[in-house]
Amino acid sequence: MILALLTFAGLVALTPLLTRILSTRVFYLLAVLPAGVFVYTLTQTATVLGGGAVTESVPWIPQLGIAFAFRVDTLAWLLALIVTGVGALVLVYCARYFSPSEPQLGRFATVLLAFAGVMYGLVTADDIYVMFMFWEITSVLSYLLIGHYTGRKESRGAALQALLVTTFGGLAMLVGIVLLTAEAGTTSIASLVADPPAGSGVVTTAVMLILAGALSKSALVPFHFWLPAAMAAPTPVSAYLHAAAMVKAGIYLVARFAPGYADTPGWIPVLVSLGVLTMLLGAWRSLRQNDLKLLLAYGTVSQLGFLTVVVGFGTRDTALAGATLLLAHALFKATLFLVVGIVDHDEGTRDLRELSGLGRRRPALAAIAIVAAASMAGVPPLLGFVAKEAVLTSLLEAADAWGWAALIGIALGSILTVAYSARFLWGAFATKPLPDEVEHHSAHHAPDPLILIAPAFLALATLALGILSPLISPFLESYADTIPTEPGSHGVYHLALWHGLEPALGISAAIIAAGLGLFALRKPFARFQRSLPHVFDAARDYIRIVRSVDALAARVTLFAQKGGLPQYIGTILLVVVLCLGAATAFNRTWPESIVLWDYPAQLFVAAAMAVAAVLAARATHRLAAVLLVGATGFGMVVLFAYHGAPDLALTQALVETVTLVVFMLVLRRLPTKIAQHNKPVRRGRRVVIGVLVGVTMGLVGIVALGAREAGTLTDELARLSYELGHGENIVNVMLVDIRAWDTMNELSVLIVVATGVASLIFVTGRNASIPRLRESRARRQGIARTRIVDDPHTADEAPAERQHSWLLGGRTLAPENRSLILEVLVRLIFHPAIVVSIFLLFAGHNMPGGGFAGGVLAGLALIARYLAGGRYELGETLPIGPGVLLGTGMLLATGTAVGSLFLGADVLTSAYFSAEVPVLGYISFGTSTIFDVGVYLVVIGVVLDIIRALGGEVDRQQAEAGDAAPEGSGDEHTDARDTGAVPVATTAPVNAETPATTSGGRR
């Protein structure tokens, strides 16, 4: 069964391609699969017949006890045969029904085949959650199939209606399933039915919710309206989904649960009353339809009501009757839909007022239709008759109040059924006088004999199974026998054409006679129908409900989502304050002691930071705000350093420096003042929220300290990192070894961020080119030593220099922007800085440092080169793209992670090689060091990416803008220009502030 489903999945994936090659012939190929599964299901017959079941199971979510469990017992066997058999025939029919020019044929074929597979999964699944999953997928696929003609309003509307109604029911069902499985402690449908949990309010509620799902899927009142609307789908879909398969899912579920749950309070009243009401309403409206397809659709609604009553009734004989009726209905209703499709196809209309004489012209088609319609009406010797006999007998046997109610309702409904069956045949095939104006509809297409295969096959089955009913009786009885017979009943019922002169036979005869009489009196009856007002119009109620939900949603959205980002953040923060505040208000744990400060300097540093934070919040100049925030960051460095966190202090200092530089690089292009157009508003409110958040977080900090009961893990971590990690710096060993997973995820985040920055600035891709001096290429070729440079903007101004300049890229800068001292300094300091960064990287295992600190330092060295020499200098310094660095770094990190797997250890397990090395002494080199090198490279890559984007690329864009608007130039921080002006070009990437930060970075 699982193999069959996987084959379905595989073929579904191939179908679009196959359709492109085979066009409509693809349907023949696709039909082979359901036909094969049909045969496969037949091979299970022997097991099933003996009352056993074929089971398969693969664990899926063992924590919840959910498994891909499949189980074919008699009921599943019957449904699987119907689903695959009708599915194969409908696919064959599609091959002739559609023309190769049909739009979206590939999608249609794919979805239809997928539906067949999913339906097979639904009826064979034993795990109720897996069943539910298939259940919901059929809803989605049905949506796609109903909406096949996407250009038509009614298709789209009908598809959405079907989806909303069935998923609404599905949601109710899910709640019911969760309740039921929680109560029963199993997810297996077989165990749920065999051993139902003791009756309680919970079980009753659960069962009612599950019934709501089943009834919505099977289009019972009050959900019935979606099914006629779904006739907007192509006819094969109507035949398969909306007659034989999907709408049967609800019936299947009722039949599945009836043996265990029919005695649940409310089960019989709900199913019988809604079923009878649906049967009567559907048949009543069917009699009023002029469109043959809609006539059948309302007929299907009616029959589904009928089926629900019978399969839900819950005695052994009704179960047998229900299973027979299920089979009979699938056979005759699919046939009738296929016939309507052919009529529509050949005659160009489905309106019974425009059809005449078709029976004479298409005798074979008419014969097929007559067999099917007669089966629907319950005429012997067809399967429909056998089923109806069984139904009537079993309900007579039941002989209680609900049994009588069901019997009378079904008898009345059957009379209407006979009448609309006769009307269908008459409407489609009889010779009627037609007005001249509709003559042109006749004989649109030449009849295609091949298209008759599928309906003929189904009609033949209806006839054969009817005559051979005693032979199929044992098969269906093995399902019915799961319900124990009540003592005192008239023995067990068997299917047969002839049971002798029983009451049921008399009732059947009376029904057929009355139905034909009603058909004969159709004109007065139609007048009578028209004289009655519309009493039950669920479709309009549905629209009203959906509209009001839409309107409510729109109002809620308008109410909740105005005010933009500040309001969202404000709302989030208020919730934080309320929740955390409430939690801390009821708290009883306070720290053992609260000291004013750890050491006196702390107070001064904190005071300075607090002042800087408040001033940063009030600053209106960008530069001032950034510097003040930077001050709080550097304050953190001091706190860390004093507190016993050298790694943090080092990293924070380096990162803070890079941040400042990057800030400057962007700020040089933005207006001096913040928020000229967005004047700060609602100051009072912001102050209140700010104070509330601050106070809450302060309390949280104190309370959290007090609540901490367990001691630190310091000793244990120290042991781990020294003995297993071979490192003395616990923080670093934790980063690259003990908590290396964390670090790896962090590296991924950094790569995403770098890519984000690059793609925001380099609109066309960051790897397009690394700006290089033309000369450097020439130099490699040994031709010239001093020549012009690439940059079109500076080439004219910059005088060609001899090779003895301090930085190669420096000459690309305008003379007024160059600083010889800076170039000299950078030239002298760059290499030592790189050496120190590598030292930090390797020393980090035992001393403060590590990949992060080393990487940021190396990044700073690169930044210094850029600041002194411009963007060309950056390309000359590091002629590879940041992508290479990021990729190599990540490869090293993941390489060590995966590598340990190959050696049979867990992910990220580290190994060590120790040796006595001259000069360096005792060296312990581990795989975690390789990991740290990965970290180092990624960090450099990130810094490089950022500096290339926000530095070099911004320079280039600025130069371009400068060409366009050359009137403005000069240092923008001293330039008191108006806001709102065109971006002002400055040819200098370096401004007054940046050298200071550069020197800060060289520590």
């Binding site: 020019s101 028209r530 953190m636 943090l648 990057v662 292009r669 900090g701 630190t712 616990i730």
Partner: protein, 170 residues
Amino acid sequence: MSASLTLVVLMAIMYGTGVYVMLERSLTRILIGFLLVGNATNLLIFLMSGRAGSAPIVPGGEVAADTVDPLPQVLMLTAIVINFGVTAFILALIYRSWWLSNLGDEGDDVMSDEEKEEAIEAENADELQASLESDDTAVLEVLDEDEDHGDDDGPPATPEPSERERDVMR
């Protein structure tokens, strides 16, 4: 565990000021607020390691009695670097939005005009609703039309094109 009141108060002040700035509509201000709140959060984690002590470096595996808890430090080291990445990203966003609008201050903005945006959203919602409604009405019309309202079995007032005709299959 004991706490240093100074650090707690500092953290509260940084949270407060950070939130205050973050609630503005200028992207630069939001970034300033983000940095302050980021530092405050680092401080909160830092507080959890308790009183000051000696660095978690263990020469020869010897753990000093006053060694600080290394776990918060590890978490913070990660947080510091991630903070930097996000800061750079927001900066790129600021620059990009400014560049796109190319109108100086206006690009540095979360949204242009609150009321206008609201109106557009409301309009979109109405349009969507109207389109869904017309789909449903179309379904009703099709179903109603086919129902027998006129003379018994007489010809339809207007011949309905069939599914076939509407799609021109062959």
